[in-house]
Symmetry: C3
Subunit: 163 residues, 3 copies
């Protein structure tokens, strides 16, 4: 039994657990917990595949640093428009791309379903890819970068919800 | 290499295999196999997030004990209305919440797609969360409790299908 | 800690990594990389559950051998119709069914979302099951057989895209 394969497996499992915890925080609208999953110097962006493919940085959400991420969460918590919907995340196809002493680079596909309170059926909110860099910290893994690149051209609401 | 991390990983894998087997039984309409995945004193319920959030127990399906679960399966097998559709389950974001000597408490997101035989396209049947308690038995893991809480307010058929 | 359980876990992880790599190749339209994931004598077929259940071999795609698989990829690369859409794969519920000295038989559920460039929203392209046989080769795991059986009766385009 190779130690290498086992180390690789444990790493994948660690990232999968992180992603599950991250998605649970968003699905349960615990935005304060969500903010704590980033490093202080984290970069968080949500942009369309169209723009990502052309290296255009403009996106639905653009946050440099935990302060901006926290502002985003606060803004949503204080609006009346965030509450009346449920989101539900599905993450699949995790791939570990690179690893250094204290960072791990990965990608994974995500699918976010949405239920609006005044409509009875669930609809697709977003489908795309997480391009991530994690950093090992004394408090466990944190996101140093999460770039969410979505395929669907139109996101069906005016709000910029984190995914 | 910590033994703890490995034990945790093996536990997660065991639950993931259980959930895959569970979903395969439902997707292939082997309802007899599905019933055998519960303990004799199992609690199985399917209810809306709306009711779950208000601690209202009323749901689409409410079964106390394997006898009631078996009745549900039998009722579906004997109706002409169950056959003409395909269901397909997707489970993601498994989180182990607690573990005792003989039980494991977990949650996971689920998505069920449906194809009706008289309509050509697949539609979303249900999206939600499994809140589970597993029990270790001499015959392997069994569900002591599965609470399926779905987000979508309207489930698009009159039948109460297990998920 | 049983060596058996660990070996089983490593095998599952290996297949999951393969499937993630496979789906990434298709999602990023790297069809040349996709072809290389099959053995020379591979069998690749995409057919409806209706036909699969009746043992009818007719399907959307039928390839005996890597040459035919390569032809399929080449045909798509050279048509103007393939580019203007994004596909995104989700794989879940992996089950290892059997293992011999050099092959592994598995199944897994798949969901493929599609975004057409002239329509703003993502739609479901296909939902179904991969029935697979992998072979161990000096170059790593390869697909000896991938039978993609989809539930939805109508696939919403005239092109035969690999899934």
């Amino acid at each position: 039994m190779s130690e290498d394969r086992l180390a690789r497996l444990l790493l994948r499992a660690e990232i999968e657990e992180f992603n599950a915890t991250y998605c649970n925080a968003l699905d349960e609208q615990r935005l304060g917990d969500w903010v704590e999953m980033f490093t202080d110097d984290a970069f968080y962006v949500v942009l369309s595949r169209e723009n990502a493919d052309r290296n255009l940085p403009v996106g639905l959400i653009y946050c440099e640093g935990k302060g901006m991420i926290s502002d985003r969460a606060f803004a949503l918590d204080k609006t009346a428009m965030f509450a009346p919907r449920y989101l539900r995340h599905f993450v699949s196809n995790l791939t570990v791309l690179a690893e250094t002493a204290d960072t791990i680079e990965t990608r994974a596909n995500y699918l976010v379903m949405q239920v609006l309170f005044d409509r009875p059926d669930a609809t697709l909110h977003q489908v795309g890819v997480y391009y991530d860099v994690f950093r090992r910290t004394p408090a466990g893994l944190k996101l140093l970068r999460r770039k969410c690149v979505y395929d669907n051209l139109l996101v069906d609401n005016a709000l910029c919800l984190p995914v």
